[in-house]
């Protein structure tokens, strides 16, 4: 059933000779002041030669610790039990000297952050050659030749020059490919990649994943891919294990796990994911509660407190990983049988054919704070009440302002926004030696009650644009107006009354709340700034906490006592405290785990509907944008390249960059992900300090490189394309734009 997507040579059954890595009842416990922390519990899996196994789980599920234990890289105080046999050799408990012979030679690891996994004081060539020399007695010359060969394999352009460069001269994607080159230097049998693309932009992620696949093909190594991204897993591996609270709770071929999950957690994760191939009208279904504290694990199933299916048995007896072949034969999984689908759930049979929406509620209240469906219902009703009150209050304020106009009014309008940040020389004079062209001519309208998404990769100027719109940084040129009133040039004092209407929600739920203030004080601060009295503010804080789905009794706590999703809700409550009309949301969910992200997205959708807010939604995540936005504007290197309604943009993207962006987003659907058409862009985003002439995307444009004639290319090089209307408001900035259907 699964074979057609596997590499042909890897489809053989579980021949014991074929197993390269066998992990058997591996447990890791960290001693701590408050008692032992069981980070990994009884993890077992087998990896066949050349196979790709994905391990997915949310933060804290133990997925990284497992692989660190296998590599022998855990701190000395970690207690590791169980075994891991690499090509038949036991590697748990080896001395440092012994395991050094194995590491790099038979098993290699790729870490998340390419910035820190390379040594900044040595050249790329030296570092790759060093990896070769560590295990092979060859001449330095031969090692360098091998380094060159490896750089070619991972697809680094002009490798000869790169050999002599230092890590800081390379971009993130390039560095990660160097790390892959080092990992494959000695043709290991197993490569463990721990979140190898999490720190990278999507178009670069596609390149790096490609390099990883090439490395596998070249060395025939088996791959363990650890990630939280279900889309990446769907496209890259043949088998997948889902980890939760230190255990593997479901394992099987990707198609089985994605299409027929048999553990409520896996089902919930898939249901909480906004999908590029999904429908906007479908509500996301967050999972109740939060992952258990490892120190205080529940007695029975680790997922039982959050599980809508949980019964008495689940709270008493921890389910084992058993076969899910549909019939009543629930025998324990045969050791080493690697083609079966196993799940750790007492009632996995009931999940046959289940959809996430059958089990989980598409709620918007803080799911981390409630434990049962009844509590959820009471919380939901109190949220509804708070909304009622809030609406009445804001109505009283705004009734006089808005007269019955039928056409949605333009609230925020930006015309030709330009922001250049000067680059200054070091030293006393600080002369201007150049400038970063962060935003170069952006125009947009934000209308009443709509969500406009600003999308782009890092460094494209989307956050700068958001701040320019709020007049938080001074613009170099251009115009911003709010309800017809120009904002540029207003002093802080003149801006203050307008700030009531324009509020901001931040990406990082940890940095955006003052750690020294209580939650009540944080939420009340905007009101205090605007001179609203204390008694008034206190009631309002309670109401706001209710409104965003948090327990209003928790106002006197400090931010560090809350989890990420809850803090993000506090940030939203603060932004709402002055009854704003416009919320600028700067990557509001990208720092959150998917099961929590879903709840915050639902909250934002509800708030908009109930309170009539306008959102400017800044994000790099097209799946989220597709779910929440009415209109989308795609940015690249400070320019807008395409803007349209969400439907138009996703069904008929016209600009090559938009097409590449959409096609680079991994779909959490194994078949679609592997069969869909791909538009791969090469290279990295050029520096905004020195953008290419003409069309800024031309250096990476697949159309420019492969399709256009020389005469056409000249136009791209010389003439910056204007944002042109293609009828029905769909505009793009490409001389040769052409609609492509991608999803």
């Amino acid at each position: 059933m699964t074979t057609e997507y596997m590499n042909e040579e890897h489809t053989a059954g579980a021949d014991p000779e074929d197993v390269v890595l066998e992990v058997d009842h591996l447990s890791v416990t960290f001693p701590s002041d408050d008692g032992p922390l069981p980070a990994v519990r009884e993890v077992s899996y087998r990896l066949r030669r050349g196979e790709a196994l994905g391990i997915v789980g949310e933060s804290g599920s133990g997925k990284s610790v497992t692989s660190m234990a296998i590599m022998g890289l855990l701190p000395k105080n970690a207690q590791v039990r169980g075994s891991a046999r690499l090509m038949g050799q036991e590697i748990i408990g080896l001395s440092d000297k012994e395991i050094s012979k194995v590491r790099g030679q038979k098993i290699a690891m790729i870490f998340q952050d390419p910035l820190t996994s390379l040594n900044p004081v040595y050249t790329i060539g030296y570092q790759i050659a060093e990896a070769v020399l560590a295990h092979k007695k060859v001449s330095k010359k031969a090692a360098m030749d091998r380094a060159l060969e490896l750089l070619e394999i991972v697809g680094i352009p002009s490798p000869q020059q790169r050999l002599k460069q230092y890590p800081h001269e390379l971009s993130g994607g390039m560095r990660q490919r160097v790390v892959i080159a080092i990992a494959m230097a000695n043709e290991p049998d197993v490569i463990i990649a721990d979140e190898p693309t999490t720190a990278l932009d999507v178009t670069v992620q596609a390149q790096v994943l490609d390099a990883l696949q090439r490395a596998r093909r070249e060395t025939g190594a088996a791959l363990v891919l650890i990630t939280h991204d279900l889309g990446v897993v769907a496209g890259q591996v043949e088998r997948v294990g889902v980890m939760y609270a230190g255990r593997i709770v479901e394992m099987g071929p990707v198609e089985e796990v994605f299409y027929r999950p048999r553990m409520p957690y896996a089902l919930g994760l898939l249901g909480s994911l906004p999908r590029l191939d999904g429908d906007r009208s479908e509500r996301l279904t967050p999972i109740l509660g939060s992952p258990p504290s490892l120190r205080d694990l529940p007695v029975g199933c680790g997922f039982a407190p959050r599980c809508p299916l949980a019964r008495e048995r689940c709270h008493e007896e921890e389910p084992r990983l058993v076969l899910t072949n549909g019939d009543t034969d629930r025998a324990a999984a045969q050791e080493g049988d690697t083609t079966v689908h196993t799940a750790a759930c007492h009632f996995s049979d009931e999940l046959v054919g289940a959809e996430a929406t059958d089990l989980f509620r598409p709620t918007a209240v803080d799911t981390e704070g409630v434990g049962s469906v009844e509590e959820l219902e009471t919380a939901e009703s109190s949220v509804a009440e708070a909304r009622e009150e809030y609406r009445e209050e804001s109505k009283a304020v705004s009734e006089s302002a808005t007269e019955g106009s039928t056409e949605p009014e333009v609230l925020l309008r930006a015309t030709d926004l330009v922001k250049h940040f000067p680059i200054r020389s070091k030293g006393l004079l600080r002369r201007k030696v150049g400038e970063v062209q962060a935003v170069s001519g952006i125009s947009l309208d934000l209308r009443e009650k709509e969500t406009l998404a600003l999308v782009g990769e890092s460094g494209c100027g989307k956050s700068t644009t958001a701040r320019l719109l709020l007049n938080l940084i001074k613009l170099t040129s251009g115009e911003v107006s709010y309800m017809g009133r120009p904002l540029q040039g207003l002093s802080d004092r003149q801006m203050r009354p307008l700030r009531k209407d324009l509020q901001l929600v931040f990406q990082d739920p940890f940095a955006s709340l003052d750690p020294r203030m209580t939650v009540s004080d944080i939420i009340a601060e905007p009101m205090r700034i605007h001179g609203r009295g204390n008694g008034d503010a206190k009631d309002r804080v309670k109401e706001l906490l209710d409104l965003v789905g948090l327990n209003p009794e928790h106002g006197s706590r400090y931010p560090h006592e809350f989890s990420g999703g809850q803090r993000q809700r506090i940030g939203v409550a603060r932004a709402l405290s002055l009854n704003p009309k416009v919320l600028v949301l700067d990557e509001p969910v990208s720092a959150l785990d998917v099961s929590i992200q879903a709840g915050v997205i639902n909250l934002l959708e509800d708030l908009q509907e109930e309170l009539g807010l306008s959102y400017l939604f800044v994000s790099h995540d097209l799946s989220v944008v597709k779910h929440i936005a009415d209109r989308v504007a795609v940015m690249y290197l400070g320019k807008m390249v395409e803007t349209a309604t969400t439907e138009q943009l996703f069904s008929a993207p016209a600009h090559p960059y938009t097409q590449a962006l959409i096609s680079a987003i991994p779909l959490p659907d194994p078949v679609k992900e592997r069969t869909r058409e791909r538009i791969i862009v090469t290279g990295d985003i050029p520096s905004p300090a020195n953008p290419p002439s003409g069309c800024r995307f031309r250096t990476r444009c697949p159309k420019f490189a492969n399709v256009l004639s020389d005469a056409q290319r000249t136009k791209c090089v010389e003439e910056p394309p204007e944002l042109m209307d293609r009828g029905t408001g769909h505009r793009d900035a490409c001389h040769y734009s052409e609609v492509v259907e991608l999803i």
Partner: protein, 307 residues
């Protein structure tokens, strides 16, 4: 703090009510945290006793710090002079009380003045950055490169200010606020990039509001550490000035001056050296511990309130 108890746990189980900051006001929480910090509490008691000894003691002790004819010179501790007497005919206990009093007054005045001026200066420079920062920090540099003792000596020598403790405190403070300004600026430079500062700006907060409500409270840790260090530095500076004849002058006395004048008598007449020495070390130590306790109590993330 790493107990990972999300606030949800209270909602989930109302019977098991976690007694943490939820039920108290901020000030109460800080007080309770401080009271539970054992070294700080012990230090606070010891320091209070020293202050009592220095400020109230003289009312109950028959000798003050001046020379009396009827006091025999060079008497070892015992009898009517529990800490002995000096060569000139001082009662050491009487001197110690007055000395500790003067030293404490100078040290605390210096620390308070420098901390207030220094942290405001540093926070302002750090928050505005750019040219404002460059100018303000050059001023700081000027105060930093002048050796404190030399400058203080020059001013005191020329103005004859050495007579009173507050003049000395002022002179020392003028040359010691700069260190605090530097520390605070460094902290503020990184704090101002935090999103919560931008959040306040986006709500329309003014610069003074942000500096006072957000930046200084978050810099409290380093500020307190620097302030406690300053107490020790001020005591040493005062002792140095007294030694040079520019600080508190005889017949008035300070701990530094007592130690200075007893420097040749450490082995022959130890009672002249050790009492002021031990007292000085005690003052510095207790202040450091109190600083630690304050820092921990003010930081909501440090330790949870235990029952």
């Amino acid at each position: 703090m790493s107990e990972n108890a999300t606030p949800g746990s209270a909602r989930r189980d109302p019977a098991k009510k976690v007694k943490d900051s939820a039920d108290r006001t901020q000030l109460q929480t800080i007080m309770i945290r401080f009271l539970r910090h054992r070294p700080a509490m012990i230090s606070l008691i010891v320091l209070a006793l020293i202050a009592l000894f220095a400020f109230v003691g003289p009312f109950f002790w028959m000798w003050d710090h001046t020379v009396y004819r009827e006091i025999p010179s060079n008497q070892p501790p015992g009898g009517v002079h529990p800490l002995g007497t000096s060569a000139a005919g001082h009662d050491v206990l009487g001197q110690l009380m007055r000395g500790a009093q003067q030293t404490l007054k100078v040290a605390f005045t210096v620390s308070l003045l420098s901390t207030i001026v220094g942290s405001m200066w540093g926070a302002t420079a750090g928050y505005y950055g750019g040219r404002v920062d460059a100018f303000m920090m050059r001023v700081v540099d000027i105060f930093l490169i002048v050796p404190l003792l030399v400058a203080a000596a020059a001013i005191a020598g020329n103005t004859g200010a050495g007579a009173s403790w507050y003049a000395i405190a002022l002179i020392i403070a003028i040359f010691s606020w700069a260190t605090i300004a530097r520390v605070v600026r460094g902290v503020v430079l990184s704090l101002r990039e935090q999103e919560f500062v931008e959040a306040a700006r986006a709500s329309g907060a003014s610069a003074p509001w942000i500096i006072i409500r957000h930046l200084l409270p978050n810099a409290a840790g380093p500020i307190i550490v620097a302030a406690t260090l300053l107490v020790a530095i001020a005591i040493l500076a005062e002792a140095g000035m007294s030694f040079l004849g520019l600080g508190i002058q005889l017949p008035d006395i300070s701990l530094g001056q007592m130690i200075g004048s007893a420097r040749t008598a450490v082995s022959t007449r130890p009672w002249l050296f050790y009492p002021p020495g031990v007292l000085l070390v005690l003052i510095c130590l207790t202040i450091n511990f109190i600083g630690d306790g304050l820092r921990d109590a003010l930081d909501p993330r440090q330790t949870r309130v235990r029952r």
